[in-house]
C-alpha cells in the first residue's frame, strides 16, 4: 500500500517518521496538492491546518496508504494508524474485536491479543464496554475506541483526520486531554488534520498551514505547557494563523475570541459550507 516503503524498505531516516518530497495529487486535472514537502520527526506532533478543500485530508490519505495515485516520493513508517472523523467502528463486531481488528495473534495466541486489546481499551477508560456493540456507544466513546484501535498497533505514526470534528465542545476538551496523555506516554509521530486553530495550538509542537495545496506557513508552537487560550503567545499565534487562513480580526466577534470552542466557531462564520 505504501509505495515508498515497498520500494525502499531499508531507508534509515535519521529520526524522521515522515518524509514527503514534492508530493503532487490532482483530481480530474485540478491540482489539490502542489509539490508539498513535509518532514515529521519521530516524536513530533504536527497539526495540519487548512480550510475545506485545501488538500489536507488528501495529504493524510496519501501518508496513510489510502491513496496510491500521487506523484513524488513519500516515506512513512511501517507501523502507522489512522483515526478518522467518524469512528468507523465495524458495527457487527464487539468493541474489543474492533480494537484488535486486523491484528494477527502473535506468540501468545488469541488470549494475548485479546489482553492487548483490553489494555488499550483501559487506556481510553472504556474497558467496561469491551463486550458492547459499537452502536450503543456515544460519539465520544466511539472515538475513544477508535483511538484505542490505533494505539494498540503501537504506531510510529498516528494520522488523525479531524478526529474530534463531530464531537460536542465539552467532549472535545476531554478528548484533547486524553490525546495529550496518550501521546506523552507512547510518543508516536502525529499528524493531526484539523480546521480548528485553537485545537492545533493546544496540541501541536508545530503547525503547518495548507492553502490551495501549498504549504503557506510552517511554524513551531512556542507556547508554554499547559497551554492557556488567554496566553498572549497563544493569542498572537492564533491571529497569525487565522490571517494565514484568510480570516481577519474584524470577522471575529470579540466574545468568541475566548470562548471555549472559539477556533471552530470562527471558522463557521467564514466557511459555512464546511464538509
Amino acid at each position: 500500500m505504501s509505495r515508498g516503503y515497498e520500494e525502499a524498505p531499508e531507508v534509515l531516516t535519521n529520526g524522521a517518521a515522515v518524509i514527503a518530497h514534492n508530493v503532487r495529487r490532482s483530481f480530474n486535472g485540478r491540482d489539490v496538492l502542489k509539490d508539498v514537502n513535509l518532514t515529521i520527526q519521530g516524536d513530533e506532533f504536527v497539526a495540519l491546518l487548512g480550510r475545506s478543500g485545501t488538500g489536507k485530508s488528501t495529504l493524510l490519505r496519501i501518508l496513510g496508504g489510502l491513496d496510491a495515485d500521487y506523484e513524488g516520493d513519500v516515506l512513512v513508517p511501517q507501523r502507522r494508524a489512522v483515526v478518522f472523523q467518524e469512528s468507523r467502528l465495524v458495527p457487527w463486531l464487539r468493541v474489543a474485536a474492533n480494537v484488535v481488528l486486523g491484528l494477527r495473534p502473535g506468540n501468545g495466541g488469541r488470549a494475548a491479543l485479546r489482553a492487548r486489546g483490553l489494555a488499550a481499551l483501559a487506556e481510553v477508560e472504556l474497558a467496561e464496554h469491551a463486550r458492547d456493540w459499537p452502536l450503543t456507544l456515544s460519539g465520544g466513546e466511539a472515538q475513544r475506541v477508535a483511538l484505542a484501535r490505533a494505539l494498540v498497533r503501537e504506531p510510529q505514526l498516528m494520522l488523525l483526520d479531524e478526529p474530534f470534528g463531530a464531537l460536542d465542545a465539552l467532549t472535545r476538551i476531554k478528548m484533547h486531554a486524553l490525546l495529550q496523555r496518550l501521546c506523552a506516554r507512547h510518543r508516536p509521530a502525529v499528524l493531526l488534520v484539523t480546521h480548528d486553530v485553537d485545537e492545533a495550538i493546544l496540541l501541536a509542537d508545530r503547525v503547518v498551514v495548507l492553502v490551495d495545496g501549498e504549504i503557506a506557513l510552517d511554524t513551531r508552537v512556542d507556547v508554554k505547557h499547559p497551554r492557556d487560550r488567554g496566553n498572549p503567545a497563544f493569542v498572537d499565534l492564533r491571529n497569525q494563523l487565522l490571517k494565514e487562513l484568510g480570516v481577519n480580526e474584524v470577522d471575529v466577534a470579540p466574545s468568541l475570541l475566548h470562548a471555549v470552542s472559539g477556533g471552530d466557531r470562527q471558522f463557521h462564520r467564514q466557511d459555512p459550507e464546511k464538509i
Binding site: 494508524a81 478518522f84 465495524v90 457487527w92 481488528l101 486486523g102 491484528l103
Partner: protein
Amino acid sequence: MSVIDLVSRRSTKEDEGSNSIDVITLEHPVSTKRRRRSFRVPRIVRRTVGPLIVVALWQWSCSAGVFTSFEVASPIAVFDAGRELWSQGVLQTNLLVSLRRVAEGLGVGVSIGLFFAVLSGLFRLGEDLVDPVIQAARAVPILGLVPLAIIWFGVGELPKIFLIALGSTFAIYINTFAGIRGVDTKLVEAGQTFGLSRWGLVRRVILPGALPNFLVGLRLALVGSWLIVIVAEEINAQSGIGYLIMQAQTTARTDIMMLGLAIYAILGLCADALVRLLERRLLSWRRGFVGA
C-alpha cells in the same frame, strides 16, 4: 397537589389581579396516555390475534350459511379432515415429503444464489459476466418451465427440486448482491488501513454487512419455494401436500383442499418466524427503529 392544580391556581390569582398578561395555555408535550403505558400485551399474543380473528370470521360465515360446505369448508371441518388424514397416516407422510422437497430445493437455490451474489458483488468482472444472465433468467416465468423440467428431469424428485431452487435463488441473489454493494466503503477503507487481508475484509466486514439484505432475500425465497412446491406437486406427483389437494379435487373434498392450503399458510408463518429468530440472533448489533 399536582402540577395542573398549581398552574390553574396561579392563573386564577393573576386574573383577579387583572394584569394584562396574555394567557398561555399549557399542555403536556406528549399525551399522558402515551407516557403511562404500564401494561403491555405480550408480543406473541398480539401477533396471534390477527390470524385468530380471520379464523373466527371464517367459521362464523360458514355457520351462518354464507357459503355451502361444498364451496367453503369451515375451520372445524378442516380440522376434522386433518384429524382424519392424520389418523390414516396420510397427512404426516405427505407433509414430510413436501418439507423435504422445499428444504432440498431451498438448499440448492440459496447456495447458488449466494455463490453468484458473492462473485458479482466482490468482483466487477464477475458482475459484468454474471449479472446480465441472471437478470434475463429472472424474467422467465418459472411456471413456464414446468413442461421443460419434466422433459429434462423426468417425473421424479429432480424436476421439483430444480423448480424450487429456481424459485428461491433469484431473491437471494438480488438482495445479497445489493447488500454487498451497499456496505459502507468507509468501513472497507478502515479495514484496509488496519491490516485486514482481502479475505479478512470479506469475512469480517463485507459479508456481515450484507447479512441483513441476505435475510430479506431468505424471507422472499421461503415464500417463493412454497409457491413453487404446490404447483410442482399438483402437476406431476404421487405425494406431497399439493398432491393431496389434487386428489381432493377429484373426490370433491373441499375440506381437504382447504386443509392443504391451511397447512401452507401455517408453514409460511413458521418459516417467517424462523427468519425473524435468525434476524434477532444475527443482527443484535443493530439499533434501528423497531416501530412504536
